[in-house]
């Protein structure tokens, strides 16, 4: 429904629905903190950004140009073939056996923070630099004219 709704605002709302379902899956998978972060980041920040741009560009009219029927058919066929190939490869995959003992609180903040700030400290800092660069780049692109 994200793909097929004509109005981009409806598309965004269906995408928010999808994100909440994925957050529900995270809760079911014992990743409570990640579910909270997912809702805050995606439904809170990214979707508001999308809606803001759609409203700003005044795109909520249903007269946008569509691809030709030939291109649409080929797109549907190629993505369907991708789905078939991936599912077929999953059928042939062996099921792995969990080696660690089952631990239901790895998704809690304590264990996650120990891993994030212990083993993955350098990628964490690099991600912060990436966010800074993205912020500067977005501001530069958003300016009216660069002197």
């Amino acid at each position: 429904m994200v793909v097929f709704s004509k109005n981009p605002v409806h598309s965004v709302l269906y995408l928010v629905l999808t994100f909440f379902t994925i957050a529900g899956h995270y809760v079911l998978l014992n990743a409570q903190f990640l579910a909270a972060v997912h809702i805050i980041v995606y439904a809170g920040a990214i979707m508001v950004l999308f809606l803001f741009v759609i409203m700003l560009l005044n795109l909520n009219k249903e007269t946008e140009p569509q691809k030709s029927i030939w291109l649409k058919t080929s797109a549907a066929m190629s993505s369907g073939l991708l789905l078939v190939v991936l599912v077929g490869s999953l059928k042939g995959a062996e099921t792995i056996v969990a080696t660690n003992a089952f631990n239901s609180n790895i998704g809690l903040i304590e264990n996650l923070g120990k891993t994030l700030f212990g083993e993955f400290l350098l990628p964490f800092e690099v991600a912060s630099i990436l966010l800074l660069v993205a912020m500067v780049g977005a501001v530069m692109l958003g300016k009216k004219s660069i002197k």
């Binding site: 994200v2 793909v3 981009p8 995408l15 999808t18 994100f19 899956h25 995270y26 079911l28 998978l29 014992n30 990743a31 990640l34 972060v37 997912h38 980041v41 920040a45 990214i46 950004l49 999308f50 741009v53 759609i54 560009l57 795109l59 946008e64 140009p65 691809k67 797109a75 549907a76 190629s78 993505s79 369907g80 991708l82 789905l83 991936l86 599912v87 999953l90 099921t95 792995i96 969990a98 080696t99 660690n100 003992a101 089952f102 631990n103 790895i106 264990n111 996650l112 891993t115 994030l116 993955f120 964490f124 991600a127 990436l130 966010l131 993205a134 780049g137 977005a138 692109l141 958003g142």
Partner: protein, 105 residues
Amino acid sequence: MSAIQVVPLNWYLLLSTVLFAIGVLGVLFRRNAIIIFMSIELMLNAVNLLLVAFSSYLSDSKGQVFVFFIMAVAAAEVAVGLAILMMVYRNTKSSDINMMNKLKW
């Protein structure tokens, strides 16, 4: 009783595969650049869901840390991408990706 002890891992594999295929379909199907961005987000979320499923199944918290990094990269990508889209719209008055064929040979 958590879901990972009841639901087999294969179903999560199947769900994220279907989500990824819907994202690919969205990228190929539409000409509106904003919808294409949304489909890319959908694909990133499929991969995130798969990482969390494996991490929970194997009781390893490294997978969830990777999901954090993917979220950070996705946020940066959306910010820069929407800024580029605003620039393109300001110059061409359209969000149609076929208007951006000036670099095509």
